[in-house]
């Protein structure tokens, strides 16, 4: 944790490079969406979005130059997010559909049949 970490000045050149990379990522994600990759379409789209997010956090938000303590807070946020998404989605994918409880399900459920 260097004393200088709070004073790190990112150069406009680097900011411009990140801007270019983000615009390129946007172009790629639109082009990739038009190709039929089956279930991999969504994987690729999220991969590109995650790369773009990482660039924003590291450089625009100075994550790369933050103190270790701040970096820990950033990582912990995504760690908790992963717990929420991971545990909920494993539950949804592993759970068997519930047997119908009543012969006349409420109107809102009818559409799902």
């Amino acid at each position: 944790m260097s004393e200088n970490s709070q004073h790190h000045v990112v150069s406009p050149k680097l900011y411009a490079a990140i801007l270019g990379a983000l615009l390129l990522g946007t172009y790629l994600t639109v082009q990739a969406a038009k190709i039929d990759l089956g279930r991999w379409n969504i994987v690729l789209a999220l991969l590109i979005a995650t790369i773009k997010m990482t660039l924003v956090i590291l450089f625009f938000m100075h994550g790369k130059y933050s103190t270790r303590r701040t970096q820990l807070v950033i990582i912990s946020g995504f760690f908790w997010l992963a717990i929420m998404l991971g545990l909920t989605l494993t539950d949804y994918t592993a759970r068997k559909p519930e047997p119908s409880r009543s012969a006349n399900p409420p109107a809102a459920v009818i559409h799902r049949a």
């Binding site: 100075h62 303590r69 998404l85 909920t88």
Partner: protein, 248 residues
């Protein structure tokens, strides 16, 4: 008390004072990550359950407007980062200029969003009594549909009705998509409006020449917020607009 970078009693150094502010901002942003995470999770589960209706809904959004807005928002993140750089290097006038540019780009984003929302009203895609996902395929002139686009739309709706087992079911699930669309983009737009208000305040303060290399914590922390809102859109765009484009 007018804060211009003096050291408060509870801190040892200015560095420590500034890091405390940055850390606090990030802790707030972590709560925002989890808040939007829950919304994204709701969307994922529903989309998983009704892929056909969600795909049709997604293809009814304007790729042009959504894509343009993505570019606008990324550009606004760049100008925001540049205003932080201007403050760090004590270029006081540039701080104001870049903040104004950021506010303009943010406003353009919200303006485009208004146009998109209006189209959804005209196309009968607002959840409620008049919702009808087949409206555009029946009234192509109102939705500016013709030629191949119209053929694709009619075909997509026909297949959707078959897959979902009736037009009622398709409408119910497409309505679920549009409820989530308005909920998610609405929450995002609300964050943008709050950000625009914060930017306005920053601009007024910056004109007084308050931000320089010695003191720029508000510019940096509102910048962090602005970049976060940009990140949310970076995920909203592919998830809402691009999911089934390859089938269109």
């Amino acid at each position: 008390m007018h804060r211009t970078g003096e050291l408060f009693g509870q801190y040892k150094t200015l560095d420590q004072q500034k890091e405390t502010a940055t850390l606090g901002m990030w802790i707030f942003l972590v709560t925002e990550i989890l808040f939007f995470g829950g919304v994204f999770l709701t969307y994922t589960i529903n989309r998983h359950q009704f892929p056909t209706a969600f795909g049709i809904g997604g293809n009814m959004l304007s790729l042009k407007l959504g894509g343009a807005n993505t570019v606008v928002l990324i550009a606004s993140s760049f100008t925001m980062a540049m205003s932080v750089w201007s403050a760090q290097t004590s270029k006081k006038q540039l701080v104001t200029i870049f903040l104004i540019l950021t506010l303009i780009l943010g406003t353009v984003f919200l303006g485009v969003k208004v146009v998109e929302y209006r189209d959804k009203f005209v196309h009968h895609l607002i959840p409620g009594n008049s919702f009808d996902v087949t409206y555009c395929s029946k009234n192509p002139a109102v939705c500016d549909l013709s030629g191949k686009d119209l053929d694709d739309e009619v075909k997509e709706i026909k297949e959707g009705i078959e897959t979902e087992g009736g037009v009622t079911a398709l409408n119910a699930h497409a309505q679920l998509y549009f409820s989530l669309y308005f909920g998610m983009t609405g929450l995002h737009a609300l964050h943008m409006i709050v950000g625009a208000g914060l930017l306005l305040w920053l601009i007024l303060e910056s004109r007084k020449g308050r931000f320089d290399a010695n003191y720029n914590t508000p510019v940096e922390n509102i910048g962090l917020y602005w970049h976060f809102v940009d990140i949310v859109w970076i995920f909203l765009f592919p998830l809402l607009y691009l999911i089934n484009r390859h089938l269109a």
